[in-house]
């Protein structure tokens, strides 16, 4: 569905992503794992069109995404939730969800999707009229996911969904991610929580200093001695 081939990204003179290639097949959860500064966020930011890549190709269902403005990707069904979430703190919960269905493709089924989101996260229905800025970290995360679902994504991209959340909330978030995959949405996620991520992901890539150093199915990686030593501290 999504294919990234030889992606190179730099901030000014400082190159941080060196020839990264990976694929997200339909109906699967793919994870990119790595420590801080490995270039995970940069990779996502570039493929979503916020930083133009130096080189490389990104295709979605065969069509190139390079040079396409970010809002056009949302219209194609590629929705990203950035690390700091993408909710608007000055707006109410329902306005945030409403805005999630901004694109024409999402607007048609807006009301049904909103019902779905409220049944997936009942707490959002309770907080409907509350400003997003007053929500707890976990609720904000649910709103961010709910808002992304409002766009009727075919590919959902999450940057460190576990960041800053209590363990119990992280668990619920990962459950929601599996649930979303089972509804037919592909998921690309970037994480530092290697162990938990390998439990939900179908396939994972390990990124170190801007290069992919290992990849495989989650069970392959979980058994790989190098991965176990470096990331699972087993």
């Amino acid at each position: 569905m999504l294919a990234v081939d030889g992606l190179e990204v730099a901030y000014g003179d400082l190159q941080v992503v060196w020839g990264v290639s990976f694929e997200v097949p339909e109906n699967s959860i793919v994870a990119i794992l790595g420590s801080n500064g490995a270039g995970k966020t940069t990779t996502l930011t570039s493929l979503i069109g916020l930083i133009p890549p130096l080189a490389g190709e990104v295709t979605f269902k065969g069509a190139s995404l390079v040079g396409m403005p970010t809002h056009r990707l949302v219209e194609l069904g590629i929705v990203m939730i950035p690390e700091e979430r993408s909710t608007f703190s000055t707006m109410s919960v329902s306005d945030n969800l409403e805005l999630g269905a901004y694109t024409p493709r999402a607007r048609a089924s807006k009301d049904e999707t909103m019902d779905e989101v409220y049944s997936l996260f009942p707490v959002l229905a309770e907080r409907r009229t509350q400003r997003a800025g007053t929500l707890s970290g976990g609720e904000r995360q649910m709103l961010a996911i709910g808002k992304a679902l409002m766009a009727r994504p075919e590919l959902l991209i999450l940057d460190e969904p576990s960041l800053g959340l209590a363990p119990i909330v992280v668990e619920r978030t990962f459950e929601a991610i599996t649930d979303i995959r089972d509804r037919g949405v592909s998921v690309l996620m970037v994480e530092q929580h290697v162990e938990m991520t390998l439990e939900v992901a179908d396939h994972a890539y390990i990124l170190e200093l801007g290069r992919i150093v290992a990849d495989g199915t989650s069970s392959q990686l979980a058994d790989d001695p190098r991965v176990r030593e470096a990331y699972l501290s087993l």
Binding site: L50, P69, H71, S86, F88, T90, M91, E98
Partner: protein
């Protein structure tokens, strides 16, 4: 004395409505694009002339030309965005303010010079058959055209608030104002929102100019004075509420008028600015702004 105070207060509130109207457009451009357009007053001046010439050359009543002036200035705003401010919005937020200041100061000089060249430096006022009409309530005399300007300001504030809070486009504008990256990730075409918001900002300046050339006067150099008033009003109100901006405008107008009565006409602006500083030291986020977290 009571009569003088009441009369001044009412005149102050009416002119304050114009301060608010001018500030609406300035706040929209600043809030959404993070562009500080000090040439906002020059756009107002052009709107004033548009309305003046529509009346003197073709006899179009200023109320009828109001939508036309809005559309003309909207298009001019879109044009300015495309040739100038579009490049400013590529910078990070902090640099946008500095760069937009430099560019719009240049624009002030160019537009003023062009206005002197083509419209002469004379002060002009639209005088219709009803321009000097007024009615009296109790001790206070209210000029019809100034009241009309005030009503237009109220309508503009309510309409803008409705647009921002109740429409899909408005939600996109508010999203862009809060965080343009997140707005883009939500599917909003941020550049398009910038362009339309700047156009509306210029259109509002045009409407303000139109009512000012009607109830007050227009000349090539009026712009900067109105821009400065509007800046004070925006800071006083804080960003976020259009109604709040209108109220802050009225507050400034009222303060100036009462200062003129009690302290003396020469000090009206000084007193108003001192009051402004006092308000800012107690509520730096403005009357209606939200404190930064």
């Amino acid at each position: 004395m009571t009569q003088l105070i009441l009369q001044s207060a009412v005149s102050g509130l009416l002119v304050g409505g114009m301060y608010g109207l001018v500030a609406l457009g300035l706040a929209l451009a600043f809030g959404v694009l993070k562009v500080l357009n000090v040439a906002h007053g020059e756009l107002l001046m052009l709107g004033g002339y548009a309305s003046f010439f529509a009346f003197t050359l073709w006899g179009i009543d200023p109320f009828l030309s109001l939508p036309l002036v809005f559309i003309a200035l909207f298009l001019f705003g879109v044009f300015l965005y495309q040739i100038l401010f579009r490049y400013v919005t590529r910078f990070e937020i902090d640099n946008r303010i500095k760069n937009s200041l430099l560019i719009s100061f240049g624009l002030v000089i160019v537009l003023q010079a062009l206005a002197v060249r083509f419209f002469t430096a004379d002060e002009r006022t639209i005088s219709t058959s009803y321009s000097s009409d007024a009615f009296t309530i109790g001790l206070v005399r209210i000029p019809v055209v100034r009241l009309a300007g005030f009503v237009v300001a109220v309508i503009a504030a309510v309409a803008l608030e409705w647009l921002l809070n109740r429409t899909r486009f408005g939600r996109a504008v508010r999203a862009t104002a809060e965080d343009w990256t997140r707005a883009a990730l939500t599917g909003v075409d941020v550049k398009w929102v910038y362009m339309i918001a700047f156009g509306i900002s210029a259109g509002l300046a045009g409407i303000a100019g139109s009512m000012i050339s009607f109830g007050y006067a227009v000349s090539p150099s009026i712009g900067l004075g109105w821009t400065l008033k509007a800046l004070v009003v925006v800071v006083l109100a804080g960003l976020g509420s259009m109604r709040g901006i209108l109220l802050a405008g009225m507050f400034l107008g009222l303060t100036e008028a009462l200062a003129a009565v009690w302290v003396g006409g020469a000090y009206r602006e000084v007193v108003a600015l001192v009051v402004f500083l006092i308000v800012m030291s107690f509520r730096p986020e403005g009357f209606f702004g939200r404190a930064r977290a």
